[in-house]
């Protein structure tokens, strides 16, 4: 199922194969979707926690790539070189905006496709990381991480 509003927001979707796989939800963002935790992970505003969100203690509290790496390391992900499909390995890809701050992350399925919770919007499955590139917010994929696959 395609979605015209999503395609307007992320024009790369117009020219690729993707499916919407959930209704929109504020309860989980891309970070929660990547390690499969039903939470909206956010470090708060200027060091102030905002209820309705979660950020683990001891993790750098900002939207930097370094902070997200720390967060995913808590879930046994480690930095890796690329997004190539490897048997028994689960990978995630972190997107950043033009400002260098994190904006999104996607998780690789065992089929090689990717699943993305588009933050407050829906989950989608898409063929390629490039499908979502859409400056200024989804400007580039800046980091790959991996761990041993748990979903078989």
């Amino acid at each position: 199922m395609r979605d015209a509003d999503l395609e307007e927001l992320l024009p790369g979707l117009k020219h690729c194969v993707y499916e919407v796989t959930s209704p929109r939800s504020d309860a989980q963002n891309c970070i929660g979707h990547a390690p499969q935790a039903n939470l909206y992970f956010d470090p708060g505003v200027g060091g102030t926690f905002i209820e309705g969100h979660y950020w683990p203690p001891g993790i750098r509290a900002d939207d930097s790539v370094a902070a997200w790496i720390q967060l995913f390391e808590l879930n046994q992900f480690r930095e890796c070189a690329n997004s190539d499909l490897e048997e028994g390995i689960e990978k995630i890809a972190i997107y950043a905006g033009r400002d260098g701050e994190t904006s999104h992350c996607a998780r690789q399925l065992s089929s090689g496709r990717w699943t993305s919770k588009l933050n407050k919007l829906q989950d989608i499955q898409h063929d390629s990381l490039a499908d979502l590139l859409s400056p200024p917010e989804y400007a580039a994929v800046v980091k790959f991480m991996s761990r041993r696959r748990r979903d078989g």
């Binding site: 209820e51 309705g52 407050k120 919007l121 917010e137």
Partner: protein
Amino acid sequence: MSATAAEETMVVSNDFQGCICAPTSPWGLPPTLTAQAMVQVTAQVAAPNIIVISIAAPRDTFNELVAKWRRDTDHISSITKTVMHPCYQTIMAMGRPAVPLILEELRDRGGHWFWALRFITQQNPADGCVEFDAARGAWLEWGRRESYIS
């Protein structure tokens, strides 16, 4: 009654809180919105020397701000960027008159409104909630208890 005398005896609703924040992001405000459109101000002569000013948040303006805010930020993870968006800041600047509109929006369509609600009301019924649905439920219960929403 001179203008000076009227100003001295003016009763201004204490409900209006907040500030008008200058947009600093590239998103900007919808072009049809001006500072004058943010709240509706009406004045009534209640007694010979008393003018009562009431301030309401216009629903059309609110809806236009929400639509642009959602369009610009729904796909972004960062709650800092979400709540610092000029449309969200403008809604916060509406102050207490915006509270019933925010709570209706939260009830009917969701949205990350907890920062605005806490700022405007200086209350936090969802204190400590880390799950979105729990925080939403706590604020809606508060809104019903305070008669902002049904």
